[in-house]
Amino acid sequence: MKTPSPEKPNPFDMPHKEMGWCPGCGNYKLLDSLKGALFELGIDRRNLVVVSGIGQGAKTPQYLNANMFNGLHGRSLPAALGIKLSNRNLTVIAESGDGCMYGEGGNHFLHAIRRNCDMTLIVHDNMVYGLTKGQASPTSLPGMKTPVQIDGVMLEPFNPLAVSLALNAPFIARASAGDEEETKEIIKQAISFRGFAVVDVFQPCVVFNRLNTYQWFRENTYYLPGDYDPADRMQAFAKAVETEKLPLGVIFREETRPVYEDLLGIGNTPLRSQEFREKAFEKMIAEYC
């Protein structure tokens, strides 16, 4: 049984929660894709922690019946790192907006890739600051006018795929929230992947981004063909820098990079359950005597 039904509802549903998103926002679809993926993968919600920052996308774990660490703007990845290293048995998903992840938290994004913990990053990339009412984000396209960028965005857009590739992220994908089914499948692959999985999701903001609409994303994207080989890094680079039409799907995947938890020698016992090492303590004190 793969899809939730009235007899077997999706355990991640939070039906009584009032939603803070605008009608028609791409975040609803992305939330559904995520819940579908979690359901189909049979993830135990008590072992799942969804970590987020602040922004519209970052509200996602508020609407998900699972453990949540809704921390500070830009700081979801450090918190996610601490959670994973503290108890590696937990499934950890970090989820936030493009501003949160690539702007305020940009440094953490770079270094989280370098560490390569086994976790999934889902970025709600609406190419705008939604919650703060429509300023440019790092991924806003040049020329877009906003109340602050009155002459249009002037900065080169941040390219999360190319940056991730440059840092040798082992799993890099792009999805489009309008395509619920495809997005769900990509998220499933990302969560199942052992290592740091980056998923940048185009997410239409129907209120503040009048440029990158559902239609715009449909017209300006395409899915990578079935014979595309995601193990080829140079080809992935070529895909990552395409601008004419933007590729969707898993653009890079490399199974062999060691995860940080293993490199640190972290075992399966959560840190909270570790026994105190009395003998080692006595030995250490003796060294000072």
Binding site: R75, I83, S86
Partner: protein, 571 residues
């Protein structure tokens, strides 16, 4: 006819030279040997913020009883280069004896210059790199401490380098020692040092302030540290990294302090006992994280080693000017605990206490130290190293679990993800009992009240300040906090005035309600290493205690015993 030079039970030896010349190595070898011989030793160090060159010095004190303070006076100065004399000029008195290679240091304006060809002893023994050994030996010869202790020490530390290296070092020691003895005889230097016979000696540790904080963290069962290097806080990161395999401590060097604090909070949310270590500048970057800890009620321990600010300030110097920073860190209103150890024993105990309080009250506990404290070395009785029980206050959750459940004492049972049937929602927004964000005004009112309510229970078990000299009924009370305990104690001891008493605070916030009675009707003097008197202001704000005198120092150096004695004479 020469005057006999007598030194009795309070000797100050200073090694001065450039970074990279080995003064630290010399001082630590000397301190180790003296401690094993049964002397009371204390060492502190001042150095420039550079890796090579510059002018640095380390003071080694040998005293009749345990001391934990810096003295301005120098009895024996080992000048490894000419700059050292210039650097330490104001501390060289007619009674100072300067040991230096005359080819490097031709003369001194003050004091007696003794030509000590230390490098040539090393060369004679086989290699100029044995100079450090020869220097230690000269000092021991001068003091009349048997050479045997040094020989044993050399055998131990060079054990891995082969017999030849050990033998050469012992030869360099022999030459240096003989020179030290001869010099003492020639110059009629008589040194009297109380040495405790071995059988009477309690087992003692020799350590620095950094190790004391580190040992405290290990003793508390700390399992997680994420930090970004910044002097003088880095030492605790290094300490725990060095011990990480023995104690299964996860160590992550963060990309910045913002990451460090948020990572530690993530780890703590998932159940680890987590610490971050930093200095003022790095801590300033962590502030939003401290506020997050306040809102989410996630336990955290912060070690802040102070150095002079603002901004980069003086990276390797000392100050106590970040009290206001930790007191007010983070936007919004939430409780916190600030501890400031004054001795190494206190650092071990209070670091454990910080973890205990953080877990019990679900808040941030600060351990506030400074460069002087962290870089000082001394001995303490092993019997004092106590391990407090590790109480985590973590509950197994059930289906109905709510992270922020309202309870009479404001403390909601703490669940962690993956332990029990419930889910744990932790939120930086104002939230309801389940942890979901809310804008309900009544819930907000109750949540703020819930978070602040614990202050009362916390204050009731706050540590009382300790009397460190004089009697409680003296009309004048001199207050110190953190690292100034030793200098206050020694100064009061020197003065022996019945009208003066010293009170040392190792918990700076919140105050135990009983503290007020100790200060009631007293003429209060506050001694602190900053320019404005931050602690004096805190006493006023919290306890309505007015300070009659503020003894302040903000040059970047610690107080010396002499200047505190001088300042207290005015009272």
């Amino acid at each position: 006819m020469k005057n006999m030079r007598r030194y009795s039970n309070d000797i100050s030896i200073v090694f001065g030279g450039a970074a990279g010349q080995g003064i630290q190595t010399i001082a630590s070898a000397l301190v180790s040997v003296l401690k094993r011989t049964g002397c009371h030793v204390f060492a502190c160090t001042e150095f420039m913020s550079r890796v090579r060159g510059g002018s640095n010095s380390t003071q080694v004190r040998i005293t009749g009883r345990k001391r934990h303070a810096y003295v301005h006076r120098i009895d024996f100065l080992f000048a490894l280069n000419a700059d050292a004399l210039e650097h330490l000029k104001t501390r060289i008195a007619p009674t100072t004896i300067v040991f230096a290679d005359k080819s490097q240091v031709p003369s001194t304006d003050e004091g007696l210059l003794v030509d000590a060809p230390i490098t040539s002893f090393a060369r004679q023994a086989g290699n100029p790199i044995y100079s450090n050994t020869a220097a230690v030996a000269v000092a021991l010869g001068l003091l009349g401490i048997p050479q045997e202790g040094l020989d044993n020490y050399l055998r131990e530390i060079f054990a891995g380098k082969g017999d030849a290296v050990v033998a050469d070092n012992i030869e360099a020691a022999r030459l240096g020692y003989a020179f030290g003895r001869q010099t003492a005889l020639r110059e009629e230097i008589e040194v009297e040092i109380a040495v405790e016979p071995e059988k009477n000696r309690p087992k003692e540790l020799l350590l620095d302030g950094t190790a004391a904080v580190g040992i405290g963290a290990v003793a508390a069962g700390c399992t997680f540290i994420s930090s970004y290097p910044m002097s003088p806080g880095t030492g605790v990161l290094t300490f725990l990294a060095q011990r990480s395999h023995e104690f299964n401590i996860v160590v992550d060097q963060a990309e910045d302090e913002i990451s460090a604090v948020n990572t530690a909070l993530g780890a703590s949310y998932a159940g680890a006992r987590a610490i971050v270590t930093t200095s003022g500048g790095g801590f300033a970057l962590m502030e939003e994280g401290i506020s997050l800890a306040g809102m989410t009620e996630v336990p955290l321990v912060v070690h802040l080693g102070q150095r002079p600010g603002p901004a980069t300030g003086m990276p390797t110097r000392t100050e106590q000017a970040d009290l206001n920073l930790v007191l007010h860190a983070g936007h919004g209103e939430f409780p916190r605990v600030i501890l400031a150890p004054g001795t190494f024993a206190e650092a071990i105990l209070l670091t454990q206490r910080a973890f205990q309080l953080a877990d019990r009250y679900q808040l941030t506990a600060f351990v506030l130290t400074d460069q002087f404290f962290l870089d000082s070395t001394g001995s303490m009785a092993a019997a004092v190293v106590k391990r407090e029980p590790i109480e985590r206050h973590i509950v197994e959750t059930d289906e109905e679990y709510m992270r922020y459940r309202f309870t009479p004492d404001g403390l909601s049972p703490r669940g962690v993800p993956g332990y029990g049937k419930g889910i744990v929602k932790c939120d930086s927004h104002e939230h309801d009992e389940t942890g979901h964000l809310t804008e309900n005004f009544e819930t907000r009112r109750r949540m703020v009240e819930k978070r602040l309510r614990r202050i009362k229970a916390l204050a009731a078990e706050s540590l009382m300040p300790e009397l460190v000299g004089g009697s409680a009924d003296a009309p004048n009370i001199v207050v110190a906090w953190g690292s100034n305990r030793g200098v206050l104690e020694e100064s009061l001891d020197t003065l022996q005035r019945a009208d003066l008493a010293g009170l040392h605070f190792s918990q700076l916030y919140p105050f135990n309600p009983s503290v007020a009675t100790l200060l009631k009707g007293k003429i209060v003097t506050v001694l602190e290493n900053n320019a404005s008197g931050q602690f004096a202001d805190l006493l006023h704000r919290e306890l309505a205690v007015s300070t009659a005198n503020r003894i302040l120092k903000w040059t970047g150096e610690p107080f010396s015993v002499e200047e505190v004695v001088e300042a207290l004479r005015e009272i």
